[in-house]
Symmetry: C2
Subunit: 356 residues, 2 copies
DNA sequence: CACCTCCTCTAAACCGGTTCAAAATCGGCT
DNA sequence: AGCCGATTTTGAACCGGTTTAGAGGAGGTG
């Protein structure tokens, strides 16, 4: 393999000093237009690309963004958000010759250590903060490290960082209204992790909307994992007066909830309407197809990366509000059985008799 | 924030030249034991960590590994493999102060460009190659770039790179035998993408096993996506003499296949047995719970990272064979209805009459 | 013509490590 | 004491960029 051209090669080819090449290619003022063109031409000609390590050494930029994901190994693989989110980040980074450094860590201790390590070793210029917690300790941590960051979602505490947000409230209202319009009156919400910002705000919004629309909100706590989603579903279906519709805080829990219903011999959506909130691809291919909210992880990714790079380069960046989440009504929501057949809503919940 | 200590600070503290510090901390011979200890103590004391950019500049190491994932945005999010795989890689990298650079790209062109960019810019010291294709163009590409790599799975072409492999053949045999033992005779396989190594080898192995066990292999082509899994399932269930069991090349297709069966009003697993091959977490929470093979993505991750680092550091590394995939028999496989009730296997496949 | 400004450009220092030729030190031996 | 070879340590060059003081030249002014 041939040696890559260095800035010296470009300088020699253009007949100038390497300092001038550097000024030119960083768009600094004070270079004559004609010279500038000559240098640009020489650089293009040689196919020169600045060596990131060399640049990092002087300007302390890493030309990389960091994403640290803390997940219980059991929860992580079912999250439909990340791969598309990262694809969105990538579209922005690739064209700027930057790179994403990804860490998946098992617990809070390893997480903090990773933020520190990436920052101290100057491996990244900023962090994308996902899965925001209530009073999230990462915000002061990263601020202390003098690092840049953006948060996905609005923290409930003071934050020095730009916020990427998306209105799910309207979508949750639409979803709840959709069910009420279908005739449901006993509507339950299986929540996400209440330590997480979006778990909490979705639950709050559901409760508020239900209240506004004059029905009693029924809430079962879970944590976004299908396991807990299934558990909460059993709990709800075991009630004396079970719900006719359940809204889950994400799609994997909704899918697990469907399974519990199937297991009990319920006919979906006839006996129970189900909705998720993640717009996951898998939701299109379960039976019945899952009513959910769209989630646009690509949009989150590119907005977050764009904003973070702007913050890094300009020292300031505006918050971004993505277009609000919209309802995707599919097959898993229908009028409740009681409404259509007149039979009491709990009739259908008999456990399936074991087969001969 | 305080300035990080540099190698000069350590040298001063230990009363030696910085060259000697460098020799010491890279475990080079020719340093007196006593001096070595003094230098180590000084470094520990100051909390010194070598600056990766500075090191990269001279020794051309990036202290990072690259993972480039090419996925159709619609397929990627349902893949249960990556997050855990990355977690496995991380366990190895973290303790060596290295980092993972991840790219998610939409097509082959962007993919090749990314490999080039990461390599030329010296962003990584080697690549983890997943989703091996038949006659995979990445192998010559990366070899041309003079980069290190390991492949997940054994390529069908010449490769200069170490191979991490795992025997799925035995698992596929176990799975097929399991179904035959249950009494199934018409067993179908919904394949993965036949351009992919593992899609192809799983299909081949199924066909060979079925043949060996004296049954006719029934094969429907798909590509690992739930969409194609669903399509293939419709195709199979539409046959005059449909299968009583279907083995899917991965879990998302199996889950989509279950949905198709449910949609047609089949009782699972009574009317149709279903199995996946990915050991995904989601498979535990569908109904019926999915019989599958275990997949150990964490094991793949740590083996791949360990081997690649060894190759980078020593210039050579052994192939690794992970423990073979084992059958996880769950609720979705049962004796066929015909065997138990004597009724013809196709009786049950009447489409559900539309509800009033 | 001397002097001042402004615009371009150069040269050298610098970032924080690694590497290696050469210098310093040491013990052993004559 | 003087010499030798082995061991240990130093110092400077180097990696490929960025930054900046100041050199050089053109043009304007009194």
């Amino acid at each position: 393999m041939v040696r890559r051209p260095t800035i010296d090669d470009v300088a020699r080819a253009a007949g100038v000093s390497k300092g001038l090449v550097s000024l030119t290619l960083n768009d600094r003022p004070g270079v004559r237009a004609e010279t500038r063109d000559r240098i640009r031409a020489a650089a293009d000609d040689l196919g020169w690309r600045p060596n990131p390590s060399a640049r990092s050494l002087t300007n302390r930029r890493a030309y990389a963004l960091g994403l640290v994901v803390r997940r219980d190994p059991h929860v992580i693989e079912v999250d439909p958000f990340f791969s598309s989110f990262i694809a969105g980040v990538e579209t922005v980074l690739a064209e700027r010759n930057q790179v994403l450094v990804l860490s998946v860590v098992p617990d809070a201790e390893a997480e903090a250590e990773t933020y520190r390590r990436l920052s101290i070793d100057n491996r990244v210029d900023g962090f994308l903060i996902t899965d925001l917690l209530g009073d999230d300790p990462r915000i002061p941590l990263i601020a202390d490290l003098d690092q840049n960051a953006v948060t996905l979602g609005r923290p409930d505490c003071e934050t020095p960082f730009p916020v990427i947000s998306r209105d799910y409230d309207r979508g949750i209202e639409d979803l709840t209204t959709h069910l009420i319009d279908l005739g449901h009156r006993r509507i339950a919400h299986v929540t996400g992790d209440q330590h997480m910002q979006h778990g909490r705000s979705r639950a709050e919004r559901f409760a508020a909307t239900a209240h506004d629309l004059g029905i009693d909100p029924l809430v079962a706590r879970a944590d976004f994992s299908p396991e807990q989603g299934a558990r909460a579903t059993r709990e709800l279906l075991g009630l004396a007066h079970p719900p006719t519709a359940i809204i889950y805080a994400n799609d994997p829990m909704a899918i697990a909830g469907m399974a519990v219903a199937h297991e009990r011999g319920l006919q979906l959506p006839h006996d129970l309407s189900i909705a998720g909130m993640d717009g996951s691809e898998m939701g299109r291919y379960v039976f019945p197809t899952l009513t959910t909210l769209d989630n646009d992880p690509l949009g989150w990714g590119s907005a977050a990366a764009t904003t973070l790079l702007q913050l890094i380069e300009n020292g300031a960046a505006e918050d971004v509000a993505l277009p609000p989440a919209a309802l995707i009504a599919r097959g898993s929501t229908e009028p409740p059985a009681s409404r259509r057949t007149g039979s009491p809503p709990h009739r259908a919940w008999q456990p399936l008799t074991p087969q001969p």
